[in-house]
């Protein structure tokens, strides 16, 4: 057992603290090349990560950078710095701690490269940037440990892939460097261990005591939830009652728009004027910091928030977490619940508020999953190639490289372990020459191979542009919102697409206020405080999570019970009625209902494949139905079903579920689809084909740069095999299109389709009639809309005789 150095031991003792077993464990195994700690929120995870560093540095002086700490959130890096500085000051240890994020000043950043601190706290993007400098070997010389905090939050994202590629670079520069990962409770620690370790080396795992089970229940409301929709407005009186009974409550929502609406109505009902704030990623930094500070100071009784509060910032005394809307994913639910009661060995308390009747079922399924410790995980995909292309560019910025050395280094990163030589060469060729069938850039290629075989940038000035584009996070094109007048206070951001729909005089909600759109000035939306109209709801392109496979399966199993004593009566009755008039969906079978209503023929497919896959299924099925002359008119999709309507009844669904036909349909449909174009845009930015749009670069009075859709269409027409299109296909299939879950569903049901024809709407399908987001099936629909509008508008202004 490695003992704490006396100075640290004393510091613990004077506070009456004792070291947790897992913290001791981390100290004992601090020599392991890779070490992963899985501990619940509030388990002193971060301290466990830093103890060996503090012990090392307390025992003797160290020249240069000793420990690099990486967190997914900027705020977390500065939070940790403050938390470290106190004990270091109190023990008078000779340790310099600094953070480095996008907010750090340029002077400070330069100084950090010349004279690095002992402990540097940073983000994956800032680290990638650091490795792109030619002086990286000098800056990282002597680095002993890299600590990756909240590594579970990076596991399934491109940020994680980019981070581990950067770490592979560090490992080459510092062969002795040890890797430490800190993770919240996850379903598959081995998967995170594989991500952390240098492939194929093993990774040691320390499992902390998971602590007591959380106290998690459904929120009791007098009013039953509505049949459809999200937001949970009906529950506001009960939520306020809970806020009153607790010290501090976090109220999580799945989307920013829902958080805004809920917050607005919460305040309308807040007769006691309880101090309640709002926090989400589209609010201005000033706004967010104000709320964060008020929270830390204990001035707020509740915060309405989204995932922007998900990660482990120390929020003080939160004693209740309320999740509004089904959590969609059990793992995320558990991590959110962990936000409450940030004390080791005390159960955290949480309440679930289903937003609609189906979510009552989903919330119950999630509750059971939490009780059973059945966390869901995604199957880890192979490392994405757009991130790899960016990595090659970053490597080139740091100086000339040997392609084979780089390939070997990349293969030490788990998700890229099976990267083939051909795949790597494809990416290198794309980065170097554009990779076009028409070899047009011989003269202007980006990288060139020297006589000695090494690759380098053709023009060293390209480093600036490459560095500007580093990162894998895609911000949608947004416009800032501020009050009119000089120096009007910033409120946050809205998406350009939403701003385009506003006309002066329209009102919308932001940061809980209703504001009136006045003008658009130099890429800023100017607003006033006049709320004389029903506000529009700003749309935010935040990710809409699909219900996980595990949770969907659990719901299907729940349906098989004879009765549902734990469900509220209204919901149990609904399911009984469905069983009476039709049947309930079963695992391993696919239920399809067909019925007429209002001179239309409806078909409801209960695929339970998650929102994205059900949406794709709707597009593919309507396409097939069109070919079969069933005249489909439109469809709507939720996490569990797709409802299609048309002019002809569906008699035999089997031909619609031929996997090959669907796959063919997918390929041709995808080509011209908006989802593909959106996916192309982000992959093309990550891979370095197009530049990021940096705020402030777009000026008025000049033509905007042409849309990436044009590049997509051009490539598709003239170079359909190009690497970027292949990457786009791979990305779309596992992202927005989620075809993998359709494949999985079809394999799962094995052709066992229960097609039931009825004479009217069924209880289970009824809520789908109330869903928003209907997709019309159309060909020349847009032109028809335009033509109608043209006639109307021209007549209105008397120009129709033209």
């Amino acid at each position: 057992m490695r003992a704490l150095p006396p100075i640290l031991k004393n510091w613990f003792d004077t506070r009456g603290w004792s070291i947790h077993p897992h913290q001791q464990d981390m100290l004992d195994r601090s020599d392991a090349p890779s070490l992963l700690l899985i501990a619940p929120t509030g388990g002193g995870k971060t301290l466990a990560g830093f103890l060996p560093t503090l012990a090392d540095l307390a025992e003797g002086p160290h020249e240069g950078l000793h420990t690099l700490y990486i967190s997914p959130l900027k705020a977390l890096a500065s939070d940790i710095r403050r938390n470290l500085e106190r004990p270091i000051a109190e023990m008078a240890l000779p340790i310099r701690v600094e953070d480095r994020t996008g907010d750090t000043s340029a002077t400070r950043k330069r100084r950090q490269r010349a004279d690095p601190p002992h402990i540097l706290l940073t983000t994956p993007e800032s680290l990638a940037l650091l490795t792109s400098y030619e002086d990286a070997p000098r800056m990282f010389a002597g680095l002993k440990r890299v600590i990756i905090d909240e590594i579970h939050a990076l596991e399934e994202s491109k940020r994680g892939d980019q981070l581990m590629l950067a770490v592979s670079r560090l490992q080459t520069l510092c062969p002795e460097m040890r890797r430490v990962g800190l993770s919240a409770t996850v379903d598959d620690p081995a998967a995170i261990a594989r991500m952390l370790a240098k492939h194929p080396d093993p990774c040691e795992v320390v499992l902390a005591d998971p602590g007591p089970d959380p106290d998690i229940r459904m929120l009791e409301t007098t009013e039953a939830p509505p049949w459809s929709g999200g937001g949970g407005r009906y529950a506001i009186p009960a939520v306020l009652e809970q806020v009153k009974q607790h010290k501090t409550t976090l109220i999580f929502h799945n989307t920013r728009a829902q958080a805004e609406i809920f917050f607005h109505h919460l305040w309308l009902a807040n007769e006691d004027s309880l101090p309640i704030g709002i926090h989400h990623g589209s609010l201005s930094r000033e706004q967010r910091e104000r709320v964060e500070q008020a929270m830390v100071d204990g001035q707020l009784r509740a915060i309405v928030c989204t995932g922007s509060l998900d990660l482990g910032i120390d929020w003080g005394d939160v004693d209740l977490v309320i999740q509004v809307g089904a959590p969609k994913n059990v793992k995320r639910l558990v991590q959110r619940i962990g936000r409450a009661n940030h004390r080791y060995n005390a159960p955290s308390k949480a309440l679930l508020v289903p937003a609609n009747r189906f979510e009552v079922v989903e919330c119950h399924a999630a509750l059971e999953a939490v009780k059973d410790h059945d966390l869901d995980g995604e199957t880890r995909q192979r490392g994405p190639k757009d991130v790899l292309c960016q990595h090659i560019l970053i490597r080139a910025c740091a100086g000339a490289f040997d392609a084979m050395d780089l390939l070997h280094e990349i293969r030490t990163v788990g998700p890229y372990a099976d990267l083939t030589r051909a795949e790597f060469d494809d990416c290198l060729d794309f980065v170097a020459t554009g990779g076009y069938a028409l070899r047009a850039y011989d003269k202007w290629q980006r990288l060139m191979q020297r006589a000695d075989g090494m690759w380098q940038l053709r023009d060293p000035r390209a480093t600036r542009q490459i560095r500007m584009n580093i990162g894998t996070i895609m911000d949608p094109d947004t416009l800032k919102v501020r009050f009119t007048g000089r120096g009007g206070a910033p409120l946050g951001e809205i998406e350009e697409g939403f701003a385009a729909q506003l006309t002066p005089g329209d009102t919308f909600l932001i940061g809980g206020q209703i504001v009136r759109y006045e003008a658009l000035r130099e890429m800023t939306v100017e607003v006033t405080r006049r709320a004389d109209k029903e506000p529009k709801i700003a749309t935010f392109n935040g990710t809409k999570f699909a219900t996980s496979t595990q949770l969907s399966q659990r719901i299907l199993r729940m349906f098989q019970q004879d009765n549902w004593p734990t469900l509220p009566t209204h919901t149990a009755q609904w399911l009984h009625l469905q069983r009476e008039v039709s049947r309930l969906p079963e695992p391993g079978r696919l239920l399809i209902e067909s019925f007429p209503r209002d001179a239309r023929h409806y078909t409801c497919v209960y695929g339970f494949a998650g929102r994205n896959a059900q949406q794709t299924l709707g597009l593919l099925m309507t396409k097939r139905m069109d070919e079969l002359n069933l005249a489909p008119l439109g469809f709507v999709a939720t996490d569990y079903a797709t409802l299609i309507w048309g002019l002809e009844p569906l008699r035999d669904p089997a031909p619609l579920f031929d996997l090959h036909a669907l796959r063919d349909g997918l390929d041709s449909w995808l080509a011209g689809n908006a989802v593909m174009k959106r996916t192309f845009k982000s992959s093309a930015i990550i891979a370095g084909l197009i530049d990021r749009n940096h705020a402030g670069q777009r000026k008025s009075g000049r033509q905007a740069t042409f849309s990436s859709d044009i590049l997509y269409d051009t490539l598709h027409r003239y170079d359909p095999d190009h690497l970027m299109l292949r990457i786009t296909g791979e990305e779309a299939e596992r992202g927005l299109v989620d075809f993998s879950r359709i494949e999985e569903m079809i394999t799962r049901v094995h052709g066992t389709i229960d097609h039931i024809t009825l004479d009217r709407v069924t209880p289970l399908s009824a809520p789908l009639f109330l869903e928003h987001g209907r997709t019309p099936v159309e060909g020349a629909g847009q032109d028809r809309l335009l033509a109608d509008a043209a006639q109307e508008l021209m007549a209105e202004v008397g120009l129709d005789a033209l």
């Binding site: 076009y436 850039y441 003269k443 008025s700 905007a704 032109d783 033509a787 509008a789 120009l799 033209l802």
Partner: protein, 222 residues
């Protein structure tokens, strides 16, 4: 592709859905802002390597417009090349293609801010071109009448039933007509931009390109 007939400066003209303009009486076809060689210029100046197919695509569409109208005269309204070096760097195939399109008709390159000097690519080079009541020049001038110009790449944006639609467009006021950009790699300037507001007035019309030309009142667009 059905053309949209309209009168401008007592002249019968046709706006083609592709963004080209045809003057039947003179058998004159006009296109603006081709920006040939744009991807080459971007790469040369240290930018990224965009798919190098926009010249092929633009010429394909230009050829289609020529085939459809069989003009006696073709007027390229400036910024035909993304810069002079990009024009000089066209591949042999692209040069031959341009020469082929010029066979049997007069071809006029109006100079633009991107291509201020002549290139050895056939046709004649002019600062502006006046025929009857019409003046063809790259950038609109104050107080001009019967003027047909390009340069601004106007595009119209509007929201119809919650759907955002944005299309390149012609802008027509009593005294001037501003052409949409014909080149494949061209962005657009919103027709509500102050620069274009200066040039248009309340009675102006926008002709949106697409499957067909859609006329809309300029004052209603953003």
């Amino acid at each position: 592709m059905t053309a949209f007939r309209f009168t401008f400066a007592q002249t019968e003209l046709k706006a083609l859905p592709s963004g080209a303009l045809y003057w039947p009486e003179q058998r004159l076809l006009c296109v603006s802002d081709l920006h040939l060689g744009k991807s080459e210029r971007i790469a040369r100046r240290g930018g990224t390597m965009l798919p190098p197919y926009e010249t092929t695509d633009t010429l394909t569409r230009l050829e289609a417009a020529i085939d459809a109208t069989d003009p006696a005269h073709v007027v390229c309204l400036g910024d035909s090349f993304d810069d002079l070096a990009a024009g000089a760097a066209l591949s042999a195939r692209e040069r031959d293609w341009l020469i082929r399109l010029q066979a049997g008709r007069t071809w006029i390159w109006i100079e633009g801010n991107h291509d201020p000097a002549p290139l050895e690519l056939g046709g004649s080079h002019m600062a502006e071109f006046i025929v009857g009541p019409l003046t063809f020049r790259h950038i609109a001038e104050n107080g001009a009448t019967g003027e047909i110009s390009g340069h601004y790449h106007p595009k119209a944006a509007l929201t119809l039933r919650g759907r955002h639609i944005s299309r390149p467009c012609f802008l027509r006021s009593e005294n001037r007509l501003i052409m949409p950009a014909f080149g494949t790699y061209t962005g657009g300037l919103k027709c509500s931009d102050p620069v274009l507001k200066e040039l248009m007035d309340a009675t102006s019309i926008a002709l949106l390109t697409g499957r067909q030309i859609t006329p809309l009142p300029y004052a209603r667009l953003r």
